[in-house]
């Protein structure tokens, strides 16, 4: 017979889940939990400086490893602060288990100090959530929360625990089995045959790899299908890394900031195969005009995604790794020379970059330089804005989970804490963060966490002293009326980083950036480099929001496109 209080039970159950890191901030309503955590021999607590940072740090761990990330927050403001990170995890299907403190059950509903309806507020942004009513319920809730977060389409689960439940005594006979990812079967054979038949008959197929490929660990199978059928492949932002960028059949990212050649090819394909991708509007543009000629095969583990936005001719519901594995032998090898040639010509006509754009102090140039210097097994995190899209466009991602970026929610402030999380998960690897001066300011307090934990996080601030991507939209779509997107003061980010105790450099215009990158990437520990970028540098091509992907603006040789 085991006897302990609810808080101790939670910590023990987390240990049994093999959780070894928890990010969070304590407060009145979760102090019993912290008191119990203090006793743990195996769990290390990462004290963040804002609960949103803790949520993103847990996400960083989850995104880099594929396992569940865990974060703690207190009731009221702690809970509301962490919501953005939870919503972000929901939209990108990231397994996070968030445990919040709540006022004692007897005070719920009385507008008690630091009481908010965390349960009610998190219904629409979690895969599932719990308000724990009895301490013994934790025995099934905690393992089930992990099982839910990790199984099927992953996602965040929130557990709200009133303070009296944390201190209540529980006695029980037997420990529950830890919750784990439940395997799902592949799509059924009859549909697989139909899909193979459709692929074999297609003259101009394209395979689109989404984040689901990465969640399912299906990149080898995806490559198998691509190579066997010579099927050109594109990736969503969340799918980047699932096929190496330099693969001969890779067309890079699709959508709003895709290479012109990729979007043009998609408009012309006769079969669009989505694998673990959900037809997000940033990827498809105006959906009714997306791949207008094409049949659609949609593979997804979540049945609700199939035909949600675009009717699928064949839906393959099931584990995408197994589905692809079963599909490959049914595919007739086919060189598809005409189609591949057509795409190659497009790629030559509309390259993503130009020699002028890849000099080291231009956005593409500096990203490519960092890529050259970063170890094969390093990670890249981004924030949200132009710097994110430039990175997605040209960084040669070559393995799943290498990129950590906020796709669905597009949350500025994601980058720094997520990079810290990845670095905690892999302390021997280097994590580079490409951020903007706007985004960095949204969770800049986490510089303290990076220093305190002494991690190999290299922060590259692409500083255009503006909310660049917003400014670009005003420039293009609001008659150049630039309003509220230019900052009026110059911030010395290097001085700020130094104030937190971090090594930092200001790259003066004309300085030797290559040398600076080499130095920074060669030394251990956290570091920040501030690099001025001209405000006028825009991300192209760009599909105007709401327009068809065929209506791209700008980019190399845009004038040749009629």
């Amino acid at each position: 017979m085991q006897t302990m209080n609810g808080a101790q039970l939670i910590i023990k159950l987390l240990e049994r889940q093999s959780i070894d890191k928890i990010a969070g901030i304590p407060g009145g309503a979760n102090l019993p939990l912290y008191d119990a955590l203090c006793e743990s021999q195996t769990i290390r607590h990462i004290l963040c400086r804002h609960e949103q940072g803790a949520g993103f740090l847990a996400q960083g761990i989850a995104r880099a490893t594929g396992g569940a990330g865990v974060c703690f927050a207190t009731s009221g403001p702690g809970a509301t602060n962490i919501l953005t990170a939870i919503a972000d995890a929901y939209l990108d299907s990231i397994p996070v288990v968030c445990i919040t403190g709540q006022v004692p059950a007897s005070l719920i509903g009385t507008d008690a100090f630091q009481e908010v309806d965390t349960y009610g507020m998190t219904i629409p942004i979690t895969k599932h959530n719990y308000l724990v009513r009895k301490a013994e319920d934790l025995l099934h809730i905690i393992p089930r929360a992990f099982e839910l977060a990790l199984s099927g389409r992953p996602g965040p689960v929130l557990i709200d625990v009133p303070k009296d439940v944390q201190v209540a005594e529980v006695s029980f006979e037997k420990w529950p089995t830890p919750g784990s990812r439940q395997e799902q079967p592949p799509a059924d054979m009859e549909r697989l045959r139909a899909a193979a038949d459709m692929i074999n008959r297609a003259k101009r197929p394209v395979l689109c790899l989404g984040g689901g490929i990465i969640h399912a660990g299906a990149s080898e199978e995806a490559k198998g299908l691509i190579e066997r059928g010579s099927i050109p492949a594109t990736m969503t932002l969340m799918g980047l890394g699932s096929l190496p960028a330099d693969h001969y059949l890779s067309m890079g990212m699709l959508g709003m900031h895709a290479a012109r050649s990729t979007n043009i090819a998609l408009q012309d394909c006769d079969l669009f195969i989505a694998a673990g991708a959900r037809f997000d509007d940033r990827a498809t543009g105006k959906i009714v005009e997306f791949c207008p000629e094409a049949n659609v095969i949609h593979m997804d583990i979540d049945p609700a995604e199939v035909s949600k936005l675009k009717a699928a001719h064949i839906g393959l519901v099931g584990d995408v790794k197994q589905t692809l594995g079963k599909l490959i032998p049914l595919i007739t090898p086919n060189e598809r020379e005409i189609w591949r040639n057509q795409i190659e010509v497009l790629q030559e006509t509309y390259p993503m970059t130009s020699p002028e754009a890849t000099v080291p102090d231009k956005p593409y140039g500096l990203i490519l330089k960092v890529a050259e210097l970063l170890d094969e097994d390093g990670f890249v995190a981004t924030d949200v804005g132009k710097h994110q899209m430039w990175t997605a466009q040209v960084f040669p991602f070559n393995r799943p989970r290498q990129l950590l970026t906020s796709g669905g929610l597009g949350t500025m402030g994601f980058g720094l804490p997520a990079a810290i999380g990845a670095s905690l998960a892999y302390p021997d690897k280097t994590v580079v963060l490409f951020t903007g001066d706007g985004s960095l300011q949204m969770n800049i307090q986490e510089l303290a966490t990076a220093v305190e934990q002494d991690l190999n996080v290299k922060i590259i601030v692409m500083n255009n002293n503006s909310l660049g991507l917003v400014r670009q939209q005003q420039n293009l779509f609001y008659q150049k009326q630039i309003f509220a997107s230019d900052f009026q003061i110059d911030i010395d980010f290097a001085a700020i980083a130094k104030g937190f105790g971090m090594k930092a450099y200001n790259a003066e215009p004309g300085c030797d950036l290559d040398q600076l990158f080499e130095k920074v990437l060669g030394q251990p520990g956290p570091c920040l480099i501030n690099i001025p970028i001209a405000k006028e540098e825009e991300v192209y091509p760009m599909v105007p929001p709401g327009a068809s992907n065929s209506e791209m603006l700008g980019g190399c040789n845009a004038e040749q496109c009629k």
Binding site: Y119, I123, K127, H128, A304, S307
Partner: protein
């Protein structure tokens, strides 16, 4: 407000699809279902919910005024952790007809 006679009949449930759910009975389950419908902009015209058996589960009837989105709605409802079963009644359900006689 419904004015036309046709709509009044519809509201009484004669030919509006009714989804009959068996759900875990706990205080949050109604919020989960109602939130799903409002968040995804699905029209629900009527809801009835009562505990069944020993009170561990509840039965819920949702009168759904959606044709195009119906398949999508059912998939989303089935995904809910607390939903144990979903049954679809395309020609309505007598629960609503009987209720209509008392309101």
């Amino acid at each position: 407000m419904r004015n036309s006679a046709n709509n009044t009949i519809k509201a009484q449930g004669k030919d509006m699809t009714v989804l009959e759910l068996t759900v875990n009975n706990h205080p949050g389950v109604m919020s989960h279902i109602c939130n799903l419908f409002s968040r995804r902009a699905y029209n629900v015209e009527g809801i009835v919910c009562i505990p069944i058996g020993k009170g561990e589960t509840s039965r819920m009837w949702l009168q759904v005024n959606e044709e195009v989105k119906l398949e999508q709605i059912i998939k989303q409802v089935k995904k809910q952790e607390d939903v144990l079963e979903v049954e679809r009644h395309d020609s309505g359900h007598e629960v609503f007809l009987r209720l209509a006689s008392v309101v």
